[in-house]
């Protein structure tokens, strides 16, 4: 791979590039899915190619090819330089990369059991057993299961001398039961919606999820939702389960702290951010107990945002984002860090694969658990009136990340510190900083889960990236709820 990269770097230099990076990626993935007792997806895929990013005349250029012959790679590098020169013809600001020492490293993500070593029959047997268990419950009209594995191997070389080889294995699985009755379609998912749980681990994750054990209960809940009361409209104390809180973090903290958004680079598509530069170290983002980090280091756990180096050769870091409620940090890259006076990138530049330009992405943006022991049941017991919401069903937020609305699959009324009746169609809405400032309790480490969001879209051409979000159940006071159905009764 070093030879292939050297063809790219040398050609870029000869053509006049002042900086060049070559990323060669070899990836393999497997996707299995069932639906109502039949195969809905059975595919293996592999992809190998090179992406070359250069700076020439003060402009960025990027070209990618799957032709790894010397001719193909050199042609691709020449194209990247030509594109960079075209970029430099339209600029109102200078491009500057903050320094980063060259690194030489070889890193493999933790993986106890290679998921590709597991017999496909075993995977399918598990999925079909879940499918059968879901459909065994009367009233379930659709059962969906899925299992996904990916092995992502990358070689990174730069004109500054970096040589970094990383291999990351990710696994994920989940299922959903749907029930159609009358004029409603209800749904329950396990262990999370939209594909389940994903982490940077091997098949051991699938075993730990104990998927089949929960199938009966999940199916029964999907059916029971039809006879549950409609979620009320008004202001309530709400408790979010950890998977819903993880998505709340993703949307209302993770995206607005992306410095490229803040600087307007995503204005046409993903949007900008309310977190203008003057807010750094001045904005009271949340209450005193809100502590959030962006942590890509393996010490944080095997999240989808865990790595050793990002895709421009910057070492993984832990950046405090919110410290005791105060906004303290952005997600940065070498070309954006200088805007906040940083002398080093936060190491957040990531690409979907070899054929995509790396852009600022979330790593593992996680809320830290409470320091005093507190279980979910204890949190419920300490809540006089409130509503517990579980598992995301819909999510939407404006293009500056102020106003949001989330829907969940299921709610539980809390009265006198006890979990009461089931509620259907729960939703809540609010403004980001008002919401985080209303948080008055969060469960401790035992209730904390590092969730994976495998489907975060950003960039043009759009890139889908996995991000990690650690969260524990938390309570928020006086939150507007039920507006999703307002006016549609």
């Amino acid at each position: 791979m070093k030879d292939i990269a050297s063809w790219a770097l040398e050609t870029a230099k000869l053509r006049g590039a002042s900086h060049a990076e070559a990323r060669i990626v070899d990836e393999r993935s497997r996707a299995l899915a069932t639906k109502n007792g039949r195969i809905a997806g059975a595919s293996d895929s592999e992809s190998l190619g090179i992406g070359i990013r250069v700076i020439a005349n003060g402009g960025f250029g990027f070209a990618a090819t799957d032709d790894l012959s010397r001719e193909g790679v050199e042609g691709c590098a020449a194209r990247a330089v030509e594109i960079a020169r075209a970029s430099s013809s339209v600029k109102s600001q200078e491009l500057y990369l903050v320094p980063e020492p060259a690194a030489k490293a070889d890193w493999v993500s933790p993986c106890k059991i290679d998921p590709f070593s597991i017999a496909i029959e075993k995977n399918l047997d598990l999925l079909f057993a879940i499918d059968t268990a879901l459909l065994a419950v009367k009233g379930v009209t659709l059962a969906e299961t899925n299992m996904n594995f990916r092995r992502y191997e990358q070689w990174f070389y730069s004109s500054e001398g970096s040589e970094i080889h990383q291999t990351i294995v990710t696994s994920g699985a989940g299922y959903a039961a749907y029930s159609f009755q009358g004029t409603q379609i209800q749904k329950r998912s396990y262990p999370n919606s939209y594909g389940g749980q994903f982490q940077g681990r091997g098949y051991e994750l699938i075993e730990e999820l104990r998927l089949l054990e929960h199938a009966g209960e999940i199916a029964e809940q999907a059916v029971a939702l039809h006879s549950a009361a409609q979620y009320p409209e008004g202001k309530f104390n709400i408790i979010l389960d950890s998977s819903q809180l993880a998505l709340q973090i993703h949307e209302s903290i993770g995206h607005p702290i992306e410095l490229d958004r803040v600087l307007g680079m995503e204005a046409n598509f993903a949007g900008t951010s309310f977190l203008t530069l003057d807010q750094l170290r001045t904005l009271k983002y949340g209450s005193e107990i809100v502590n959030v980090v962006a942590d890509a280091t393996p010490a944080h756990g095997p999240g989808l945002g865990t790595f050793a180096y990002d895709d421009e050769g910057v070492a993984a870091q832990c950046t405090p984002i919110i410290s005791h409620g105060l906004f303290t940090g952005y997600l940065t890259s070498r070309d954006t860090a200088a805007a906040i006076g940083a002398t080093r990138s936060g190491g957040c530049l990531r690409a979907e694969s070899w054929n995509r330009l790396p852009i600022v992405r979330m790593t593992n943006v996680s809320i830290l658990p409470g320091e005093s022991p507190l279980t979910l049941e204890q949190l419920i017991a300490s809540t006089e009136h409130g509503i517990l919401m579980e598992t995301n069903r819909s999510w939407s937020i404006d293009d500056k990340r102020y106003n949001f609305q989330f829907g969940c699959e299921m709610g539980w009324e809390i009265v006198g510190g006890k979990r009461g009746r089931m509620l259907k169609n729960p939703s809540y809405s609010g403004m980001t900083t008002e919401f985080w400032n209303s948080m008055d309790a969060i469960c401790s480490r035992d209730e904390w889960t590092l969730w994976g969001t495998p489907n975060c879209g950003k960039g043009q051409p759009q890139q889908v990236m996995g991000t990690g979000h650690g969260a524990a159940p938390a309570r928020f006071r006086n939150i507007m709820a039920g507006t999703a159905y307002k006016g549609n009764e």
Binding site: E46, I83, L263, N268, A484
Partner: protein
Amino acid sequence: MLDRNQANDIFDKLRRLSEADEIELLISGGRSALTRFANNTIHQNVAEEAYHISVRSAFGNRTARATTNKHDDDSLRRVVQSSEVLAKVQHPDPDLLPMPTKEEVAAAASADCGDGAVHRYFEATARVTPQDRAQGVASMVSVAKRHNLAAAGIFSSTEIVEGIFNSRGVNAWYEQTLAEISVSMIGSSSSGWQKANSPDMARLDPVRLAEVAAVKAIESKAPRDLPPGKYTVILEAAAVLDIVGFMFWDFGGSALLEQRSFLNDRIGTRLFGENITVWDDVYHPLQAGVPFDGEGMRRQRLKLIENGVVRAVTYSRSSAKRMQASEMAGKVGPVRPTGHGFALPSEIGEAPLNIVFAGPPQGESRTVEQMIASAERGILVTRLWYIREVDPYEKILTGMTRDGTFLVENGKVVCGIRNFRFNESLLHMLQNVEVMGVPTRSCGEESFDMVVPPMKVREFNFTEATKF
């Protein structure tokens, strides 16, 4: 660019390597380039050439797929073996059909397919260079600077091929170019936006798009607060596309059979206003896209909605067979393979992706300007954003307005307003369309490209407002 002969050669090699009962090759890819700008600067600029070789093997009623981007003999051997290994261990699918023959494809292609030919490859688009795109961006940045605004957006050009070959004789090939421009104009308290695409680069006018976006940014500056509630809205065509696209994924036989469609128990009933008639028509002159499906069946023109009544949904070969055998068969309109299936195995099944709204009768069409002039009080919406489904059966969707939302009073645009969140049922919305314009090819970010009209809709349900 990979051509049809090269693709045929690849399929011949795969076929020789195959030990399966049947083999299918889906090959797709091409060249694409995208120049991205923000703050009046090109900050990202990319190009790639890549192709995917996707092989489906079938042993009786077992099938699976493997995909590679490598063309060498070892990789082709491996992709065939991978698909075969995966297929052999599948649980049998009693509804899996043999791959179609070329005779079956020809027989299913009724008059609704025309001759099945479309011309959407333009040399001028394929020849666009990085310098050409930079020049186009420069022209939009000039507009921004003239108005003291910051421009952000994209200018892309692509040429793609897609082919399908199977061991029973199907051999279909498609080539297309597409150029696309999206531009946002950013002011200190407001923004405006426009987007357009076409297979023919000559049909795009970056300066005109930039000027319209700039006017929206200027006219919506210092936006006023307006209380949420039900308003008459004038939705520009892109806003219509953004929201209505969410319902067409339910227009499939598989969605009905799996009871995940809002059309369950509703086909043949009047769901929308009488002024709503919708086709799926890949052959429409303003449409783009592949005229055959994931098994090589030609897409048929379908009248999905006629005067507010859902008349038909799409089918793959397999879902048509399953529907014909189901108790729903007599209640869901015509049941036949329509050429809308996704590549197998598929979680979704099928869907119409070439939506064309019928325009209003002659003399009843109104431009957006005429809709504004006829409005006593209402909201003009440029685009909608971050739309998600709140209720799958009542089709309640939530989302935000974005990049140019205006108060209209007494027939005039009065001022920009802060953006609203909506929670609106599509059933309700399409029952309340007062006036429509001429359908145009439109593109947004929330749905696939369509031919849709701007609409004036009463009682559109805004539930909250944001801070900008």
